[in-house]
Every structure is written in C-alpha cells, then in structure tokens.
Homo-oligomer: 104 residues x 2
C-alpha cells in the first residue's frame, strides 16, 4: 500500500472523522433526539467547555456528519442534527458500542 | 451523564482503542492474513518507523485486540494475530470501511 492509497482508505477516513474526545457522546445525543440545541448538548456532557464542544461540532459539520441550523428567534437558537450520511452511521456505532461494553 | 458513565461508555471505549494513526491499517493487515510477521507488517505500511509501529502494536496488545507470539528460531521471529475479541471487530470495521469509502 502506498501513501496515496493509505490516505484514501475508507476505514482510516471513518476513524479519523470519529476520533475526538467528545464525538462519541455528541453522536449518541443526536441519535437519541431528532435535533438538539447547543445548550442542551453542552448540559448533557460532563466537564467540557463550550469552546471545546463547539470545536468538535464544527469538525463534525465540516465532515458533513451533522448539520447546524440557526433559528432567528429572540434569543436566537442553534440546533444540530444528523445529516443523511451521519444517520447511516447509526447501526455501525451501535455495534461498536456493544462491542466496547463487552470488554469489561 | 456523569463523568463515571462517560468513562465507561462502550462507544467511547471502542473508539479510543481504534484511534491511532496506524491502527486501521494494522487491523486490515491482520484481517487479511491469519498471522503476520512484524517485518511484513512494517513493509506493508507506508512511511512509518519501526518504533512507532511497535508502539501501536503494543497498545492493541494491551487492549487485548491482538496477540504477540515469539518463535525461537534463528533468527527469532515475532508474529501478530487477532484475538477472539479482535476478530469480533471484523464485520463492524468492514462496514465502517464501506461507509468511509462512500464519502468521496
């Protein structure tokens, strides 16, 4: 395998996208509810700053796994939800979750 | 979710184990062949030092995903193969691989 093939390897790409301290938890929250407000998401996480959470969300958004919507209420609200691509991860992540739980 | 629950979350644990620049490639090699020699593995990777490869293998060994066997030939040979736990990852990683390939 040369470096070009390595860069394009699907497994490597998937794991790159999913690697990030808070990403598993963000995704779990989004699989549980249709759409989640930023502030709710933040409250559901233990010990994470808003700045760090926002960065992880931005990465997932860039990778087209989640979608950000701004609702122009007063005060304005920011929602996140899974894209179609993100939703396809559901069954795979649920298997990974069970596998991880079986390790204890 | 409190911090204790977060630490024990199965998905978080699985992704932690799988996160590492060369781990996807190591696992792919081990799924393709029953057992692989260290030197073969190293030749199949692009641009990685033996030191770094050995570290990633050590982590996977510590997480009980792979098994190291030393054969006392002359010169001695070191083999790696998947454990039963590691083999269970096969179908999951193959789905992740397809998902990752579909992103292009």
């Amino acid at each position: 395998m040369n470096f070009e093939e390595f860069k394009n390897c699907g497994l490597r790409r998937s794991l790159n996208i999913l690697s990030g301290k808070w990403k598993p938890l963000i995704l779990q929250n989004l699989f549980e509810e249709d759409r989640v407000r930023f502030v709710e998401l933040w409250r559901n996480m233990p010990r994470v700053s808003k700045k760090v959470l926002a960065e992880q969300l931005k990465q997932l958004e860039k990778d087209l796994i989640i979608e950000r919507t701004e609702v122009h209420n007063f005060p304005p609200e920011v929602y996140y939800k899974l894209t179609e691509r993100g939703q396809k991860l559901g069954p795979i992540l649920s298997e990974l979750h069970s596998w991880g739980n079986g390790l204890a």
